[in-house]
Structures are given as C-alpha cells and as structure tokens.
C-alpha cells in the first residue's frame, strides 16, 4: 500500500489554508494567483525556478549532479531501473521540448507538413457560368489558373496549375502545390462571371475544425483559416506540454484562454468539439508511434466536466501507449463511462479518478479496473499492484492454462529408446534412421507455421523458410488434392529423398538438455497388424514431441527453429525392425523457448548491491527535481518518490492527485502556494 503523507481531511479545494490561485487543478503546476491562465503556466516555470532558488541546478535533466539533500527513502533494490532512462532526456525529445517551450513552437511547426494544399472556393453557383454543362467548373479553374499566373512576379515564368478539383455543394475544392495555392488564394474577392469568389484555405487533416461556426463563412477575415487554427492549437499545446515530465496538460480546456480566443467553445463548454482537433494536431507532430510514446508519457484531463470519456475518445487512438492519466474532478460515475476507450490505453500504470462520482465505488470496482488495465500500479495515488505483481499478473495472463510437465506413459521403454535414437540419428545419419525405424508404408509430412506468435522479447531473426516451404503440407494453404498428395511422402525412398534436401540440424542433447523438450507418449491400441494375424489390431504408441533444433545452413549463422512432431509407432513386421514408424508429422515454427511448467515462486534474481553509489545519487537528483516541480520539502519529495518506486513521472502524478491533502509542512516555506 502506498501510505500517503498524513492527510488533511478532504474538503473543498479552496479550504486549504493557502488558497492556490486559479481553479485549474490537475497537473498544472502551482501558479501565482490571479494571473491569466496562460501566463500562469509560462510564469510557472519561471516561478518554480525562482522558488527553488539556489537549489536549482543547471542542466535540469541530468542525473549525476550532486544534490544538497538526499532522499530518506530506500530505493528499489533492483539497481538502476530502466525507468531511470526516462529522465535522461533523449535527443529527439529535447528538440520537442525546446520547440514547445517557445511560443512559436518552431520544432512543432517543422514537424508538420509545411503549408496546406487545398482551397475551398465559393461563389461559382451564383455566377453566370453555373449554367454551363459542368456547372462552370472548367471555366472557373482556367480563370483561376490564368489570373493567378498573371498576378505572379512578372519575372516568374511559372504557370499556376491546379492539380485536382472537385465540387461539393456550393463549393469547389482545389488542390495545388503550396506556392500555387498561395497565388490562387490572392484571388479571394475577385469577380468571376458576375459573382464574387471567396477563397479559403482548407486543411484536409483537420476536418473537425471548421472555422465557420454558424454560417458566417462568407464574412471575410472573421474566422481563422484552418492553418491559423492549427497554429493556434499548436500554440495551445505548446503551453500545455511539460517536456521534463513528458506531460501533456489538457486540464480545464474550457477555461483555456487560447482556446477561448479562438471561439471554439462557441458558448458551450464541451470539450468534444475541440478535443479531436487537438489530438489530430498533436498526433501530427510525431512521425512514429515510438517518438510519440517517448515524448508524452502522461496526460491530464482533469477539470473537463467529462461525464463520459466518449468526448475525449480520440485520446486512446492518439496515445495508445500512455502510462499516466489524470482524470481528476470530472463527472465520471461508472465503469461504463470509460468504455469509449475500449481496451486501449492498456499500458496505463497510473490512473487518477479523484473527484469523480465513481470514486465512492472504487473499492468494489477495483477488480474490474485492474482487469481492464493490466499494467496499472497506482490508482488514485494508492498502489494497487507492485511492479512485481504486474509482471506476475502478466505471466499469468499469458498462460491461463497451467503449463504441465510431460505425460510420458511408455510401454517397456520403447518410446523412450526410439526418441533417444531418433534425435541423434536425425542429426547425424538420416539414412540410418530411416533404415532402422521406417519402412515402405511409413508416412512423413511437414508443415511450416510462418505466423506463430512469439514474445516481443525475442529479437532473434527468423531464418528464411524457403527450404521447407516448398514441401509444407499445411492444408490451410495447400488445398489442391494433388499438391496435398505430392507432399505426403510414403516409404523409405520418398522420405529419404526429401530429407536429403532439408537443412542439416542439431537437436539439443536429450540427456543433458532435457528441459528443451516436451515429450508425451501414450499407448495406442488398434493399429493395423503388420503380420495380418490380429483382426483387432496391435498396440502401438503415439508420441508427441515439442522442442527445438539448430539449423546448420550454409552461412556461419546458426538459426534455431521450434518444432512439434507427432509419431505413431507400431510393431515391425516379422523379420524386420522391432518397431516401425507408421506416421511422422512435423510442424515447424519460429524459435521460441518452450513453455515449461511454472517454476516455484521467488525465482526473482537476488537484488544486487553493487550500484548503491550511483543509485543513491540518482535518487537524490530525482528528489531535487521533484522539489523543484512541486515545492514540496525534500523529505516529502523523497517519500513520494519512494512510494512510487522512484519514478519521477509517477511521483508527480501522485503529487498532483494528493496535493490538496498534503499538510502545509509538506511544502517549502518559501514556495508560493
């Protein structure tokens, strides 16, 4: 359990002794009272630095700088955690931060496709050309091209070309290169066949963002163009991004000065209108999912009056890998209010629902929430799972069916002897193997499973399947009977000629590496009697064997493959070998370690202590960062970090969720509250 610092009784937010300025909650840093929100946030950074005073170090993100106070807490025992890497700022992400830190969001801009390439033109329908067979489209387009070309810099010989066009209702949409678009746009207000043309930029990427709110699209200059809208949204995002915490603060959007200025709320306070647009703009800033995942780890949606996350459903699409999410002080009342996100946001490790009606039912809903979010560790600032439990739970989820050891029910060690000889001979002398156990009736076929899933932890490349694929008798794919028959090999000769073409293999030694095999064996009555004497047949064995082998291909690289093989063994014909292979079926797939019976618990490697020095330094540095960000005392910061497993992002989320409950002495005396 996360034992929180002593808490004051929870009351109205404003009842704490020192009322904080502004009513934006969530993750926004404490702000000077009264100042406009945007200045608040910007000022915040400055204020924080000032509050931290001489404690402030240059090079904020550095882990190795000595800190004046060390956290009293004990770090997690498992050495430098990979999470520490979150603090070391990655190059790409630094660029984002730098860009976002400025009002211009230069970097952001550079990440967006420069310019826009679509114009919306209205006015054609009221022109005389509208009576043309094509509605006047053709003559409008040539008019635009001609006029735009004429009005270019006279030294330029370029002709303005419209690449694409289509009519929709009263509007014509044209696409052209950004340069040409700019020229065409200058024709806004021109007369064409007796009608005044209105030409506006349209960005196909943000269809949700119509600058025209209530049919006022005809008024020039009143509504911002799509590009302007995008730029404004980027500016809004820039002020709401904290690069150090990798936090995107989307709290209290309805009170956002920037958004209000844009008139996007149009009198209502719903976020449903602006949110998808914000997400589109935000998503557009990143080229890859990984880039996004690295830059934005936490999001707060506090104070958005959300009764259902349907209004912000695009969050899950834009940030599927989100780790920390603050939904404080909304109106979420039941689990179903989270349904709009479906099973996305699966990677959440922190979820804050403080100040929602649902909070009162958390005790009963906890199980459901934990099920929905398998990685969740902290719910409302309370630890609900340890990282170890998350790992264990995932292991369990991976295998709801208990893995059991082999069930090997041999008859007179026949099966065992066969397998022992088989694995050796198949590697070293397939001809001898065939002579010893196969006969003219033995059947062999192989199939290749090229789609077998394997753990993302395995990065070994999969060697090409070419040598096998042309023989694969996978009936899911091979549906023609002749092909199926061709790939069933019966008799020593047929099998031998196939085996000669298959790559050489080396199976693990079954004596010393028995754990790499799973072999089961059962008696199998009712096989055809090769002597023809017994009408009801004779007893045989059915053996299923799962394991791996190393392929000895021409290159020096060794590649592993996993296989499952089923044998049916029967007694040999009189005068022949004592046992014979009736059937031999092999299925190959990419290598992955075999599922083994669950080992006893506590197989966790012993904690190493050789990193104490650097670990301590790392923690001290982290504690000071938290001090700077929160204004909490070093002691409280360390406590907070200890409880959140020394994860700065989580600690800050926990702080945000609980800051109203913290006693006054949790904060530095000189920190403005």
């Amino acid at each position: 359990m996360l034992s929180r610092p002593p808490t004051a009784p929870r009351g109205a937010r404003n009842s704490s002794p020192a009322t904080r300025g502004g009513d934006r909650g969530g993750i926004q840093k404490r702000s000077r009272g009264g100042a406009p929100a945007r200045v608040d946030r910007d000022g915040d950074l400055v204020m924080d630095a000032a509050a931290a005073g001489n404690k402030r170090r240059s090079g904020k993100g550095r882990l190795d700088s000595p800190a004046p106070s060390r956290g009293s807490g004990r770090g997690r025992a498992n050495g430098p955690s990979p999470r520490g890497g979150n603090l070391g700022t990655i190059k790409a992400q630094r660029a984002i931060i730098r860009g976002l830190g400025t009002e211009q969001a230069n970097v952001l801009e550079s990440r967006i496709t420069p310019g826009y390439s679509t114009l919306q033109i209205t006015g054609l329908s009221s022109s005389k050309a509208a009576s043309n067979p094509d509605g006047g489209l053709e003559s409008l387009l040539s008019f635009l091209e001609r006029k735009a070309t004429e009005r270019q810099d006279p030294n330029s010989n370029r002709e303005v070309k419209i690449k694409k066009s289509h009519m929709k209702g009263d509007s014509v949409f044209v696409t052209a290169s950004p340069g040409d678009i700019a020229q065409i746009q200058k024709l806004n207000g021109f007369s064409f066949a007796g009608a005044v043309l209105e030409i506006q930029a349209r960005d196909p990427a943000t269809p949700g963002l119509r600058s025209d709110k209530s049919g006022d699209k005809k008024k020039d200059g009143v509504s911002p163009s799509a590009e302007e809208t995008k730029e404004r949204l980027k500016a809004v995002l820039a002020t709401r991004y904290n690069g150090e915490l990798k936090l995107l603060d989307l709290s209290a959007l309805a009170h956002d000065t920037g958004l209000k200025e844009m008139g996007v709320f149009d009198g209502s306070t719903t976020t449903s209108k602006i949110f998808p647009a914000l997400m589109v703009v935000c998503g557009g800033l990143f080229k890859t999912r990984q880039e996004k995942q690295e830059a934005i780890v936490s999001v707060t949606l506090a104070d958005n009056d959300l009764a259902d996350v349907a209004d912000v459903s695009s969050l899950a699409e834009t940030f599927p890998d989100l780790k920390h999410l603050d939904l404080s002080r909304n109106r979420l009342a039941q689990m179903s209010n989270l349904d709009a996100w479906g099973s996305r946001l699966k990677h959440l490790s922190t979820l804050i629902l403080t100040g929602n009606p649902i909070e009162t039912q958390l005790a009963t809903l906890k199980t459901d929430i934990l099920k929905k979010y398998p990685y969740l560790e902290i719910l409302n600032g309370v630890q609900v799972r340890t990282p170890e439990e998350v790992a264990a739970a995932l292991d369990f989820a991976k295998s709801p069916i208990p893995i059991a050891g082999p069930d090997f029910r041999d008859v007179g060690q026949v099966g065992e002897n066969f397998i022992r000889q088989f694995v050796v001979l198949y590697d070293t002398d397939r001809t001898a193997l065939l002579a010893q156990f196969y006969d003219s009736e033995s059947a062999y076929s192989l199939s290749v499973n090229v789609v077998a899933p394997r753990s993302h932890k395995i990065s070994a490349p999969i060697a090409p399947w070419a040598a096998y694929l042309k023989h694969s008798r996978n009936m899911v794919k091979i549906t023609h009977l002749p092909a199926q028959m061709n790939r069933l090999h019966r008799g020593i000769q047929a099998i031998q000629s196939l085996w000669a073409t298959l790559p050489a293999t080396r199976h693990p030694d079954i004596q010393t590496q028995g754990e790499k095999y799973l072999i089961e064996c059962h008696a199998l009555p009712g096989l055809a009697d090769p002597t023809g004497q017994s009408v009801r047949g004779v007893d045989g064995l059915i053996i299923t064997m799962h394991g791996e082998f190393e392929e000895q291909n021409n290159s020096t690289e060794k590649s592993l493959r996993s296989f499952s093989r089923t044998f049916v063994l029967g007694p040999g014909a009189p005068g022949g070998q004592p046992i014979r292979v009736v059937s031999d079926m092999m299925a190959l797939r990419c290598w992955a370690p075999l599922a083994l019976p669950k080992p006893a618990a506590n197989s966790q490697p012993a904690p190493t202590n050789n990193n104490n020095g650097s670990e301590q330094q790392r923690q001290e540095a982290m504690a000071m960062q938290l001090v700077e960000k929160t204004g909490m005392t070093p002691q409280y910061s360390a406590l907070c970090l200890t409880e959140t497993g020394w994860d700065l992002e989580k600690a800050f989320m926990a702080f945000t969720a609980n800051k109203d409950k913290l006693p006054a002495d949790a904060f530095l005396a000189n920190a403005a509250r």
Binding site: V448, N449, A452, P453, M475, V476, H522, T544
Partner: protein
C-alpha cells in the same frame, strides 16, 4: 475430411465446448496439458472446467495422414489460442487421431493438446 473436422471442432470449441461431446466415445482419450482423461463424460467435464471463458482458436497449420488399415486419420494442428481478453496469442499444438465410427463418420480417439509458446 481433416480440414472439415478441425473447422468443426474449433468452431464448437470456441462457441460452447460442451457441444464437443458427440465427437468423443468412451474409449476416447484427451490429453490436455499432460492431464489425461478417458471417456466422453470425463472429457467434456475436463474441457468445461478449463480456466477460461471466451476462447478463439486460429489454426495456422493443419496436416493429416491416413493411418493404415484402420482407416483412421492422424491430424497435427499448430495454431494460436486467444483466451478471454488476453491480447497475446499462445502457440499450441494439437494432435488428433480420428477413427471411423462405423456409421460413415469419425470420432476422436486421441486428442493431445499442448501449449508450446515461448
């Protein structure tokens, strides 16, 4: 035949595995994760008691061989299993031995299931 059988088997299994009862006989043997059960009643009970609700089999490979004069069919299936809300599929391998039931159809004589994921 093998393809029809596996399609039917996994459809039934994924819809309601209790419906698999007609495919087994009292001399049938199910070995599920190394636990062997003989007889229709025991097999259905074992299948019903498996610790998952929703289940989906995706057959990746299917191979079958006729087994000699018994007119049986030996089937080897490998595929992926999705259980409940778990997103990650698990590799499995399943061997069926089918025997004619005397009425023009087949029943499962041996059914050996094993998870083989890594």
């Amino acid at each position: 035949m093998a393809k029809q059988f596996t399609e039917f088997y996994y459809n039934q299994f994924d819809q309601d595995r209790k419906n698999l009862a007609p495919l087994y006989r009292d001399n049938s043997m199910l070995t599920f994760e190394s636990a062997s059960v003989q007889g229709t009643a025991g097999i259905v009970e074992k299948l019903s008691a498996l610790p998952f609700g929703k289940v989906k089999h995706q057959v990746s490979t299917l191979d079958a061989q006729p087994t000699g004069e018994t007119n049986g069919i030996l089937i080897l299936v490998t595929g992926a299993l999705l259980v409940d809300d778990e997103q990650r599929p698990m590799n499995y391998s399943q061997t069926f031995q089918l025997l004619p039931d005397g009425a023009g159809s087949f029943y499962i004589f041996n059914d050996i299931f094993k998870l083989v994921f890594g």
